[in-house]
Symmetry: C2
Subunit: 161 residues, 2 copies
């Protein structure tokens, strides 16, 4: 995928964590993710489609998801439950939504987030897609964002109605 597509996702992640959760986060790397790599404990996925189409996958350590839920809705939990799942889905939606607004020329719209729960799962893109992987560190722990976008065939894209 084209490197210029990735910056809006980095900026959006930093902004959403700062403004919605009051938490500063730091990106600690950038790599092409093409290995069979296990994710953290809870993962949000959301599809995007328009002049480009693809997915954003955000995987959180459990302690990050629990702290983010506390910050977002004021509820303190010791384990993953419906509120934590909804928080992860909502963060995934907000981060992808802010980034797509910055990528206005791609005229993308969002699908719904889904949330995967369970250790030892791994998430794969189609082999023709090489998503970029962005590890982040926060005071709550680690999370990782993967973004895989490919340009859509001419005429198959959407414009805002």
């Amino acid at each position: 995928m084209r490197a210029e597509y990735i910056n809006p996702f980095i900026e959006s992640t930093v902004d959403v964590f700062r403004t919605m959760l009051g938490c500063d986060v730091e990106r600690t790397g950038l790599s092409v993710h093409d290995k069979f790599c296990p994710e953290y404990d809870i993962t949000g996925i959301i599809g995007l489609s328009g002049k480009a189409h693809g997915d954003v996958v955000i995987s959180f350590e459990e302690k990050v998801a629990l702290s983010a839920t506390h910050a977002l809705i004021g509820m303190k939990y010791n384990e993953i439950n419906d509120d934590v799942i909804d928080t992860v889905g909502e963060l995934t939606n907000m981060i992808a939504g802010n980034a797509k607004t910055q990528l206005e020329s791609l005229a993308m719209s969002l699908a719904l987030p889904t949330v995967i729960v369970g250790k030892n799962h791994s998430i794969r893109f189609p082999s023709k897609v090489k998503p970029l992987s962005l590890p982040f560190q926060s005071k709550w722990g680690r999370f990782n964002i993967e973004v895989g976008l490919v340009e859509s065939p001419e005429g198959a894209h959407c414009v805002m109605a």
Copy 2:
């Protein structure tokens, strides 16, 4: 989600299995999926967006995914590998793509499929969405399709360019 949206996904599943894999499948039920339900061994997810937006989640027993790979690309494997993952992604893409063509009035476009591998994962939609769950039986084993779609806010949808 509206019940009339579900028939195109049922028809598309039967058609894709018959025409692409030479395998007849039978739907064995229909229910609202709102529980914390573990999936089978390998699961494809794809987002759709347009006048409605949502996701299709197709979870396969390993033996179904292996047999489908053999039927689709002629390769016989005993365990999940890159080709099996790509086959599951491609089947997810084809089933959702055929169904969206039938749901022309919703003017939806597809994101990319992602594929989840690992036992004991579970996949959740946002709690406001009640996806419909469609269990299927084939000569190769079982698989399950969940479809969750919600109508998009006025003005946020796409039209074909």
